[in-house]
Symmetry: C2
Subunit: 201 residues, 2 copies
């Protein structure tokens, strides 16, 4: 009655690590641009293992998206939530977005969601659902912090939390787009202070 030991030959790779490697590949190459060869090589497994564990390419893609979403370790969100002062937190969020978008090893990659959506949402079945969920969750997560600040008295009672949360989200998209086009960090950082004011005041 051992629940951990399954019958048959044990899997020779870590399922989760393989999935994270797949995220990386889709991230840089897009859904169509990522070949099974690219994926298997990055994941360190052969094609039959990929197909038996993750299904086909589309299924792997969806699982990679969910893996990314469930990670919660999106750098800008962490920066935003870990900084106690709300004004500094907003600034840290935007800075992290810019960093995230510009200083990635394999050139500018933007955000996995942004990258994935344009290649696949609408074209590939089921992907838009995942993204809708992700947007709503991110908006809510940002708004929650604003609500907490209102309770603390750091923000006025009539502060429109959800509205400003989605504003932050949209600014993020703008930075990502600019970074993809190759704009440099220093040019994007210029009006940071005023953008913080726009969000909070």
């Amino acid at each position: 009655m051992n629940t951990t030991k399954r019958v048959g030959r044990p899997r020779g790779f870590n399922c989760d690590e393989a999935l994270m490697a797949a995220v990386e590949v889709f991230w840089t190459k897009g859904y169509e641009g990522a070949s099974i060869k690219d994926l298997t090589e990055a994941m360190g497994i052969k094609a039959p293992s990929l197909y038996s564990t993750f299904g086909d390419k589309l299924n792997l893609y969806k699982q990679a998206i969910e893996r990314y979403l469930s990670n919660d370790a999106c750098a800008p969100m962490v920066a935003f939530e870990s900084e106690p002062d709300i004004r500094k937190a907003v600034r840290a969020f935007l800075e992290a977005v810019i960093d995230y978008a510009t200083q990635n090893e394999s050139g500018t990659r933007g955000c996995f969601l942004s990258s994935c959506v344009s290649t696949s949402a609408g074209e590939v079945e089921g992907v838009d659902e995942l993204l809708k969920k992700a947007i709503a969750e991110t908006d809510a997560r940002l708004a929650k912090r604003f609500e907490l600040e209102k309770e603390k008295g750091a923000l006025p009672d009539k502060f429109p939390s959800l509205e400003r949360a989605s504003l932050m989200f949209d600014l993020r998209q703008g930075y990502i787009f600019r970074a993809r086009a190759g704009l440099k960090k220093n040019t994007m950082t210029l009006d940071l202070d005023r953008r913080v004011s726009i969000i909070l005041d």
Copy 2:
């Protein structure tokens, strides 16, 4: 000495129309997702004609981008520039963005630039240059209108035109992203008035 008549068999298709058809295909399918078959069928020509007139797929892609950029008929820009009252103009811009992103025949397509950049910029040589130019031009075009309004006295002298222009641009990216995920027009229109205030006040 006839300059219009060239020697040899005349081209049986309109070069510009074919290029616009190519834009449509890249728009909906992305660079990698668009096959030569897709392209030739939409353009109404056979592969050899495509290659002799536009070079290879990458060259066609770049020409399609430039064709799109030189069009200047981007609906939100037109809406923004043709409305005399600046407040209404900003609102019209945002409304047009939302319309543009949500009510396209083949599902939600977003913007050609946004679609094209994520598939190809960074991965495909030369594309990021085209986009950088496009962003700078759009920012400048929006800012120019703000400057005119300052001269007219409709905006304060210290109004940061370029900053607010890029803010508008970035909000646009956010809407496009949301539309791609399948968000509906009415949910995005909710905080439109406050977003106009954010841009102008």
